[in-house]
Symmetry: C2
Subunit: 239 residues, 2 copies
DNA sequence: GTCGAATTGTCAGATAGCTGACATTTGAAC
DNA sequence: GTTCAAATGTCAGCTATCTGACAATTCGAC
C-alpha cells in the first residue's frame, strides 16, 4: 500500500517534470532522483507565489500557466520584469545567491508548478554539469530579454515601446504557428508596467494599434491579429 | 629553450588568472590546465573589445582596468548596460548561446584581459561543476544589477536616477574603504547613457550634486566626496 | 608653446507624457 | 437577474525632459 502510493506520487511528479526544457537528455535515473525532491503546487490566477523580502527557499519549475515577475520601484511603481512560460524555471536567482527575494511572482493564469528546495537544487547542479549548463543558458536568455527591455525603455516613445513589447510577448509564446491570432492575457495596466508608461498613455497607443487592425482589445486581454503589422515600424512612422 | 620559454608563458598566464573571482578554490592542476588555454590581451583606453554583430568566439576575464558594456537602441541611443571591474568575466553570454554579439565592449581604462575560446570555456564548465556554479552566481548578480537599473529607469526623475547610479558605481568598486573619495572615470555623456537621460539634463543634475558638496566634477571623471550625501535622498527632496 | 577635438556648462522653446478626474464597460459573485 | 469591483476609454492642464544652439574649458598631439 505504502509502496503503491509512493509510486503514484513519483509518477505524478515525473509528469510534472517531463517536458521541462531544463531536463532534456537527462538520464532516467537522474529524472527519478529529481522527481523525488519535487513538490507539486497549484496556484490560481492572481495568486502570489512569492513576495519581495521572502526568504528564498525554493526554486520553481513551471509546468502550466504563465507567471509574471515584477519589481517595485521606491516610488511605488510596479515594474514588470519578466513573464515566465511553461517549461521554464524561475526563482533560481535568490536560490543561487541566498538573499531574500527582491521581486514578486504572481500567476497570470491558473498554474501548476514544481517546487524544489534550494539545497536540493544546488546539489543537483553540483552533481550534474549538463544541467548547470542548461540553467546557465536559461539565464543567458533571460539576461538578453531584460537587456532588450532596457533598450526599449530608453528609446522612448510609448507607442513604439508598446508595439515592441507585444512582439516580444507573442514571440515568447511561440507555441502556435505564426499567422494565427495570439491572445495575450494581460491587462492594460500590466502592459503599462511592462513598458514603463502610464496606463492612460498605454491605452492610447493600444487604441491606435486597434484602429490599424493589428490588435483587438478585449476585457483582460489583447488579441494580436496580424503580428506583421506590429513588426512593420514603417506603418506607424506617420503618427 | 623551447621548454623554458613555454614555462614563462604559462607563468604569465597564471599571473593573469590569479585573483579571478571565478577561480577561487580551484585545484592547482585545474589552474594549469586553464592557464594553457588562455591568451593575454592588452587594450588601451577607448579600444573596442567586441562590437555588435561580431561572432561570439571568446570569453574574457578582466585582470586590470574597467570595461563598459553598451547596447545600441534602434534610434541610435547608446545605452550603458554594465561596467565590468577587475576579477570579473564578460562576454560569456554570447559564448554560451552561440549567437552573434548584441552588445559592444569598450575599455574605459587601459586594460589587461585573458581571452579564452568558446569551446575551451564550455568544456571547462562541463568538467568543472564548481566553476559552473560560480559563473551562475556571477550571472545572478549581473541580472540583479540590470533589474535594479530597469527599476531606476522607471522611477523617473533624472536627478534621482543620477544619484542612484553613482551610488551603484561606487558600491561596485568597493576596493577602497568608504569615507574615502572615489573617482569614477566616466564622462557626463556616459552617465547620461547609464541613466537614460540627455547629456544636458544629466549635467544639470550633477551640478546640483556638486553644489551640495556630494561630488566634484572633473574633466573626464566624477569624484564622489561624501557617498552618504548621495544616499540620503531626503537631502534632495527640496529641489 | 599652438591647435583642435572632445568634453563641459547653460540657455530658451517645443513636446511627450504624467496626473487627476470622470464616465463607461465588463464579468464574476450573489 | 442585480450589484460591485476591476478594467477600460478619454479629456485637459501641467511639468519634466528633450532638442538645438552656442560659448567655455580641458588635454593630448603636433
Amino acid at each position: 500500500m505504502q509502496a503503491r502510493e509512493e509510486s503514484v506520487k513519483v509518477r505524478t511528479r515525473l509528469w510534472c517534470i517531463n517536458g521541462l526544457n531544463l531536463l532534456r537528455d537527462v538520464s532516467e535515473e537522474e529524472m527519478l532522483r529529481f522527481a523525488a525532491i519535487t513538490r507539486i503546487v497549484e496556484r490560481r490566477r492572481g495568486d502570489m507565489i512569492y513576495l519581495p523580502g521572502d526568504a528564498s527557499q525554493s526554486v520553481y519549475f513551471l509546468k502550466e500557466g504563465r507567471i509574471k515577475i515584477t519589481g517595485l520601484s521606491e516610488d511605488g511603481h510596479e515594474v514588470l520584469l519578466d513573464i515566465i512560460g511553461p517549461g521554464e524555471i524561475f526563482g533560481e536567482l535568490g536560490a543561487i545567491q541566498e538573499t531574500p527575494r527582491t521581486t514578486a511572482a504572481q500567476a497570470l493564469e491558473d498554474a501548476v508548478l514544481c517546487e524544489v528546495d534550494r539545497e536540493d537544487f544546488e546539489e543537483m547542479l553540483a552533481t550534474n554539469p549538463q544541467m548547470s549548463l542548461k540553467v546557465l543558458k536559461g539565464f543567458g536568455s533571460r539576461l538578453k530579454r531584460i537587456e532588450a527591455q532596457l533598450l526599449r525603455l530608453i528609446s522612448k516613445d510609448v507607442p513604439t515601446r508598446v508595439r515592441e513589447a507585444l512582439v516580444d510577448l507573442i514571440d515568447a509564446q511561440r507555441t502556435v504557428r505564426p499567422e494565427v491570432p495570439v491572445k495575450i492575457g494581460l491587462t492594460q495596466q500590466d502592459v503599462a508596467n511592462l513598458v514603463g508608461a502610464s496606463r492612460q498613455e498605454t491605452a492610447r497607443a493600444l487604441k491606435e494599434l486597434e484602429y490599424s487592425g493589428a490588435v483587438e482589445l478585449r476585457y483582460r486581454s489583447i488579441v494580436v491579429r496580424t503580428p506583421d503589422k506590429l513588426r512593420d515600424r514603417a506603418l506607424f512612422n506617420g503618427h
